[in-house]
Amino acid sequence: MVRVKSRYLLCEVNVSNRSSLLHLDDRAVAAAVKAAVARTHGDYGAALCSIRFCVKYLNAHTGIVLLRFPKKFYRLLWSALPFITGIETRGQKIPCFLNCLHVGGTIRTCQKFLIQYNKHQLHQMLPKCKNKEEKNEVRRAILSCSLTGEKMGLKGEESEEERANT
C-alpha cells in the first residue's frame, strides 16, 4: 500500500485578547500562512503552498490550529510560520503569532498529543485556583463545554482521512 504522506503541524494561536480568537476562521488562517510563505519563500513557496495545504482543524475557543503540509516540503513551509504577525479576518487584523506544539504524521497522533497537552495544562492550572469556587467553576466549564461535539468532529474527520488514505 502506498499513500500520500503529509505532516500535520499542531499550532496554537497566541493572542493578547482571547476574545478575538472567536473571529478566526480557517480561511483566514490559511490566507495568513500563504501570505507568510509567499513573503519568505517567494513564488516557489507560494506554489508549494497550493499543493495539499489546508487548515484541517481550528478551535476558535482554544486557538488550536491543525495545518496539513505535504511531507516533502513541510520544513520549508514550517520555516515561514514564525513570520506570521497577524491574521486578517472580516476586515480587522488580529495581532497574533503561531506557536507550533507538535508535528505529527497523522491526525490521530496530533489528537493524542493535544489531549495529553491539555491534560497537562489543566493539571498546571488547577492548583493555581485560589478557592473552591473557582475550582468548581473550572470543573463545570469543562463538563458543560461542547468538547464532546468538537471531539466527534475531529474523530469524524480523521476516519474520513483514513478511509481516503487506504
Binding site: R39, T40, H41, G42, G45
Partner: protein
C-alpha cells in the same frame, strides 16, 4: 563594493609578507617552509574529490530588446537579486552570490554562487523576463564547478 566576499576567498593573494604569515598560521607550524626535504621515493599522493566544490561559476549574458541600454555591474546584481526575491522570497534573496567580472559592452558576467544555491540562481535567471519594462533574457553560456573553464570555452573558437 560589487565584489564583497571575493577577497575573503583569496585570502592568500595579499601582499607577500602578510600572506606568508597567514600561510604559516594556517599550517600551525606543522611543517616549516623550506624545511626538511621530502624523500622522493615514498611520496605519491592521489586524492579524488567528489562534489567538493564549494562554489559554482556561471557565465551569463543579459540580452535586452534595446541594445543601447546601459546596465552597470551594481544594477545587474540588483536585478538578479530582484529575480531571486520574486521566485524564492526573502530567504532566496539572501543567497550570497558574487559578480566576479562584468563587461558593460557585452553585458556578460561571471557569477560565483555557493553550490547549494546554483539551481536557485539558475532558475531565477531563467524566469527574469523584463528589465525596466523592456523584454530581456539571460543566456547561460557556461556553468562549471571551477573558474578556470570559463576562460577556455571551446565553443568560442572561431576560425573564419
Amino acid at each position: 563594493m560589487p565584489f564583497p566576499s571575493f577577497r575573503k576567498a583569496l585570502w592568500w593573494s595579499g601582499p607577500v609578507a602578510p600572506a606568508g604569515r597567514s600561510w604559516l598560521l594556517f599550517y600551525g607550524g606543522i611543517r616549516r617552509m623550506n624545511g626538511a626535504k621530502k624523500s622522493h621515493e615514498s611520496d605519491y599522493q592521489r586524492v579524488v574529490l567528489k562534489n567538493s566544490s564549494p562554489y559554482h561559476y556561471m557565465k551569463v549574458s543579459l540580452e535586452l530588446e534595446d541594445e543601447s541600454t546601459k546596465v552597470s555591474a551594481v544594477e545587474l546584481k540588483h536585478f538578479i537579486i530582484t529575480g531571486l526575491k520574486s521566485l524564492f522570497g526573502e530567504v532566496g534573496a539572501a543567497l550570497d552570490f558574487d559578480v566576479l567580472k562584468y563587461s558593460e559592452d557585452t553585458r556578460t558576467a561571471f557569477l560565483r554562487v555557493p553550490s547549494r544555491g546554483l539551481v536557485n540562481l539558475w532558475s531565477s535567471l531563467t524566469l527574469l523576463g523584463s528589465y525596466q519594462s523592456q523584454a530581456c533574457a539571460f543566456r547561460v553560456l557556461q556553468v562549471s564547478s571551477f573558474l578556470l573553464p570559463l576562460t577556455g570555452n571551446s565553443r568560442e573558437l572561431l576560425l573564419d
